[in-house]
Symmetry: C2
Subunit: 211 residues, 2 copies
């Protein structure tokens, strides 16, 4: 992370994709790759790849390209995958439970350490090795356990309240699965997963193709 001007959101959104393709190359024991080859794989122009990477540093070598292992390490660093993060899931419905069970996030350094719900029928139930607790307990839990990320999986009518409580106890990163736009203090980042919007986009595009 040598350079660092103002990275545009367009670039940031492509970083995880670079990380994924480089992880694949690494797994396949590829040593080096040029922006041209990588571009053909991902479906970007070589030019764009070089522009993107040069926002963060000079990782390549003229006449050679990029060393896969090194570039992968650099992007891991840029994304912050070298660190470990604790998350809690608020809302143990379908999506909350699915996320708690989904193990892949641990590879990205993010571990779910707590799950909370308001439904007495769910409280006490275990998902993997984590017990679902009463939703009222999460502020206390966050204070005692250095939680980095709050994952909101409650219905939209409760989402803003949960969000406010999460930020009140110091959480600075929120992954929001509720279909609303949350309001947060300036120093808090929110990443939305709006499944309904994604599905509507698909439906629109499908209708266009088929006239």
């Amino acid at each position: 992370m040598e350079k660092k001007k103002n990275i545009s959101m367009a670039v940031i959104k492509r970083l995880p994709k670079y990380y994924r393709y480089l992880s694949d190359l690494l797994k396949n024991d590829v040593d080096r790759i040029s922006s041209k080859e990588l571009g053909e794989k991902i479906g970007f122009t070589a030019s764009q790849i070089r522009q993107d990477l040069n926002c963060f540093g000079d990782f390549g070598q003229q006449g050679y390209g990029y060393n896969v292992r090194e570039l992968h390490a650099q992007i891991s660093n840029i994304l912050g995958i070298h660190k470990k993060y604790k998350s809690i899931i608020v809302g143990a419905g379908n999506i909350g439970q699915a996320l708690a069970n989904y193990s892949n996030f641990r590879d990205l350094g993010v571990e779910a350490v707590g799950i909370f719900d308001a439904n007495p029928k769910l409280i006490g139930m275990k998902i993997r090795d984590i017990e679902i607790r009463d939703i009222d307990e999460f502020p206390e839990y966050v204070k005692n356990n250095c939680v980095d990320i709050g994952i909101i999986c409650v219905p939209s009518r409760n989402a803003q309240t949960v969000c406010d409580e999460l930020t009140a106890c110091g959480i600075k990163a929120i992954w929001n699965f509720a279909p609303i736009d949350l309001t947060t203090p300036d120093d808090v980042v929110v990443e939305n997963v709006h499944l309904s919007e994604s599905l509507l986009t698909l439906v629109y595009l499908a209708n266009q193709k088929h006239q």
Copy 2:
């Protein structure tokens, strides 16, 4: 849908958001709204909203603004929410089951009519009123049941194969939850939900804010 040049993806991705905010307004019995007011709610400029809407038609009235009920109906039409769609879910793991249970998509006209998995322990199990079937049966099922949308929730190593089978039996719209980029014929549309990429974006942004 009067006009219709080449709608940019940027505009298309905003349509579901317009739909959501207009649904809210409708629910709150708001009769009319100006691009200025709507912009303040959503966080867009008034100019952008007028530009976006004018890709599809002249829905407003000078001096008045937009009639909420009418604009909502128009956007429903543009998105294709007036029609009904049948979907099948391939892969009944955490995410597949969560999507099958999640009822909200029915409001958007999309109904899950079948779920399939390769795991014998899951086959026969019921989610809501739908029985999980053997994954080998889905091509036959698609042919007999006018399925519009294939939802891929299998592990990434199987995702391309499932995708090929879905397109082979005529599916033109794929909602992909596997963390890979699928290859499809030109007349098939794919919408990806890449949760890992979303989470990595959040982690990156959180690290930037906190230096």
